[in-house]
């Protein structure tokens, strides 16, 4: 498969881009300045549902669009370019990857609502400030017909508004081990579950969850008891590839804003874009972003092909897209000079979003380390 978009994929891009681009970052500003409690628009999400975007990864037989990670990435790149707050990544990419593997009961209960855009999902994996999935310590102990969950989660993006939480818990073994992890489908409105929503630097919301013996039925288990690591990893990889795509969008928009600025801003009697040092830095940045885009598309194609090397390419994509986007927002703010520091200009919003996406599902250093481990060193 050639490493560029097919005609169908370009059509999707040409549909989603203008749709989100119409308002662009103003959409985020409106939610932010209105202190919106959710941090994202239910109206827009319902439209994603209608257009089949919420079900992009769901098979047509299950009411979805039956598309793949490449298509999800196209949507996410547009989301990144326009800074559109959306449940898309957590719900339609990461969440759906797990739901697809669930028993009929859980799938039947949630998937239709997810596809129509009327239910959203929160991913509850991290327990510390850094993404370290093997370190899961939240315990799920057998109790009667089901389990009781005790422990805490953090950085559950949009967890406060999520209808369903995918919770990675430890049913055996010790923190640090990959074995002994089990995934649970836990309604947010469960007894004993305390949800604290906090606003992040990018104006989005994330939740800290406290589980105090939260009771769930046995059929809340998704996948195998104690053997959830593989499914968890697939979910995280879907999230990582998606975050990479959004980062490519964030970085690409930051580059475009900056290049536009270089062409219009005049200093010392000429456009600052004529200054060689700035030209070279912009060209280097372009190069980094193009490479990140290629790596991201490669990872998505590998995921869609269910290739054994997909996890490697996902690690590469998340790391490279993160680095390139971070460079883009840093160079963007610096080259904008003083006005780049003001809230009035959009470039700072891209810097904030980049930082959140860097951390989500593991930062560049984490991904590089993972790649090294997969390569045996």
């Amino acid at each position: 498969m050639p490493l560029y978009l097919t005609d169908d994929q370009i059509m999707l891009k040409d549909m989603v881009g203008p749709m989100l681009g119409e308002e662009g970052p103003r959409h985020l500003r409106r939610l932010r300045d209105g202190h919106d409690a959710a941090g994202w628009s239910r109206e827009l999400w319902a439209r994603f549902g209608e257009m089949g975007l919420a079900g992009v990864l769901v098979p047509e037989t299950a009411g979805g669009s039956g598309l793949g990670h490449v298509e999800a990435g196209i949507v996410l790149e547009a989301i990144g370019r326009n800074l559109t707050p959306s449940p898309f990544l957590a719900t339609a990419v990461a969440g759906v990857t797990v739901l697809a593997a669930a028993d009929d009961a859980v799938r039947g209960r949630w998937l239709p609502d997810v596809v129509t855009g009327s239910a959203t999902i929160g991913i509850a994996v991290d327990e510390g400030a850094k993404h370290r999935p093997a370190a899961i310590a939240l315990r799920a102990e057998r109790s009667g017909n089901g389990f009781r969950l005790t422990g805490s989660k953090t950085f559950v993006v949009q967890g406060g508004t999520a209808d369903l939480l995918i919770v990675a818990a430890r049913t055996a073994g010790a923190a640090g081990e990959e074995a002994g992890i089990t995934l649970f489908a836990v309604p947010r409105a469960s007894e004993g579950l305390d949800v604290e929503s906090v606003r992040l630097a990018d104006s989005g919301m994330a939740a800290r969850l406290a589980f105090d013996g939260v009771a769930v039925d046995a059929d809340a288990v998704i996948g195998e008891v104690d053997g959830g690591w593989g499914l968890l990893s697939r979910m995280l990889d879907a999230g990582r590839a998606g975050a990479a795509a959004e980062l490519v969008g964030v970085g690409g928009a930051a580059l475009d804003l900056t290049v536009d600025y270089l062409k219009t801003r005049r200093q010392f009697g000429r456009e600052i874009g004529t200054f060689q040092a700035l030209q070279f830095r912009a060209a280097h940045l372009y190069s980094e972003l193009e490479i990140a885009r290629a790596a991201t598309l490669k990872a998505q194609q590998m995921l869609d092909a269910e290739h054994a090397d997909a996890p490697k390419w996902v690690a590469v994509a998340k790391a490279k897209a993160g680095q390139a986007a971070t460079l883009a927002v840093q160079e963007g703010v610096q080259m904008h000079g003083g006005i780049g520091m003001t809230d009035e200009y959009d470039i700072g919003l891209y810097m904030k979003r980049d930082r959140v996406l860097q951390e989500w599902f593991g930062d560049a250093a984490f991904q590089a380390d993972r790649l090294a481990v997969m390569n045996g060193f």
Binding site: D126, G128, A129, K130, H131, R132, T154, F155, V198, R199, L200, A201, D202, S203, A206, R265, Q267, F268, G269, F275, A277, L278, Q330, V333, Q334, G337, G338, I339, G340, M341, T342, D343, E344, G348, L349, M351, K352, R355, V356, Q358, E359, D363, A364, A365, F366, A368, D369
Partner: protein, 385 residues
């Protein structure tokens, strides 16, 4: 000054401070609200803050090395050093924070008329007038000399029209020292250094919201502001000389700020660096942090000995601000998702993230990194063009 005289002076200072510095003014500054900026309508966090200011001003010790005639203490450099050391020894707070002291004062001392010195400097010394600086303009940026704010000669007064930006505390200042264009046919040689009252009709200010949140910076607008003719510092159309003198002064001050104090290690401040990649980045950063601390020590030592290259502050400003940005980036990485919180009490209303975002301005304000690199290339390395 002979060593014996120094000892006598030191003892006097110590006694005076012991008797006059209120206990409340010996406690560490907890935040902006503990800083005293003076002004027409001063705010004091406690009565002792006012007492401390008044007592120090009465001695002339808010500006110990200025001449007594201008409200200063008339101290020699050696005496000034002793005063500062003794204040530091008891943890005495600075009685007055003031752009009048740090920025306008040196310009007036160098370029002001005798009448101006006698009028303005004592007000500054006593903290009666709070000043702000009007240099930057939206269209100018790094090309400061391309400023457009006009002062038209209307016989008995100047008529000022235009806009300034990045005016720190313009909304709280009483007077402004300002660069204005008095000759549109020249660039540097058409600029004049003007002083005027911010309460003049036609002056408005608007605070600037930064990506890190609220800030002391303002946009400042002048709409037919009338300024008396005698409020020019230096000659008309020679304000650029004054500005350059002050910029050098400021750059030296900024480049020496926060240098060489305490252990610069970032790694030591982090509790758990689990990720091997991050640990390696922090370890590499620490090398740079220690090395820059050594450079700061060397720079200050060379400055004191008069051995520093005059353009060396540009190098320090460049390297120091880039390092600080890097520190903030790594601190954010180490802080992970906790550091992303923006307005929770737990995160001290997003202190980590706001500090990180604010640090991005370091390499822009006071001359961008690009400006500094250009200065180093031309003035130190003597590269052509």
């Amino acid at each position: 000054m002979a060593v014996v005289d120094e000892d006598v002076f030191r003892a006097e200072v110590r006694d005076w401070l012991e008797a006059n510095c209120p206990a409340e003014m010996r406690a560490p500054v907890r935040g902006d609200e503990d800083l005293c900026w003076g002004g027409r309508n001063p705010t004091f966090s406690c009565p002792e803050q006012k007492v401390w200011l008044d007592r120090m001003a009465a001695k002339g010790w808010t500006v110990p090395d200025w001449p007594v005639a201008y409200g200063g203490g008339g101290l020699t450099p050696a005496e000034t050093k002793i005063l500062r050391a003794e204040m530091k020894a008891i943890g005495a707070r600075s009685p007055l924070y003031s752009f009048g002291i740090s920025m306008l004062g040196p310009a007036l001392l160098e370029y002001g008329s005798e009448a101006q010195k006698l009028h303005y400097l004592p007000q500054i010394a006593r903290g009666e007038i709070r000043w702000c600086q009007g240099y930057s303009e939206p269209g100018a940026g790094s090309d400061l000399a391309s400023l457009q704010t006009r002062a038209d000669d209307r016989g008995d007064h100047w008529l000022v029209n235009g806009q300034k930006v990045w005016t720190s505390y313009a909304d709280k200042a009483d007077w402004i020292f300002c660069l204005v264009r008095t000759d549109a046919t020249e660039k540097q040689k058409g600029i004049t250094f003007l002083l005027f009252d911010m309460a003049s009709p036609g002056v408005t200010t608007k605070p600037i919201l930064l990506i890190s949140g609220s800030s002391p910076f303002c946009e400042t607008f002048f709409d037919d502001v009338r300024v008396p003719k005698d409020q020019v510092v230096g000659a008309v159309n020679r304000g650029w000389d004054v500005a350059k003198y002050l910029l050098g002064h400021e750059r030296e001050m900024i480049s020496g700020m926060g240098l060489a104090a305490g252990d610069p290690s970032l790694g030591r401040t982090l509790t758990d660096i689990g990720d091997p990649g991050l640990r390696a980045l922090v370890a590499a950063f620490d090398v740079d942090a220690y090395a820059f601390q050594a450079m700061s020590e060397r720079f200050i030592d060379e400055l004191k000995a008069g051995q520093a290259h005059p353009a060396q502050p540009s190098m320090m400003k460049y390297a120091g601000t880039e390092l600080n940005k890097q520190r903030s980036e790594l601190a954010m990485a180490a802080g992970g998702s906790d550091a992303l919180e923006w307005d929770s009490a737990r995160s001290n209303t997003g202190a980590a993230a706001r500090t990180w975002l604010r640090s991005k301005g370091n390499s822009i304000e006071g001359g961008t990194s690009e400006i500094q690199l250009g200065i180093v290339a031309k003035r130190i390395l003597a590269l052509p063009g």
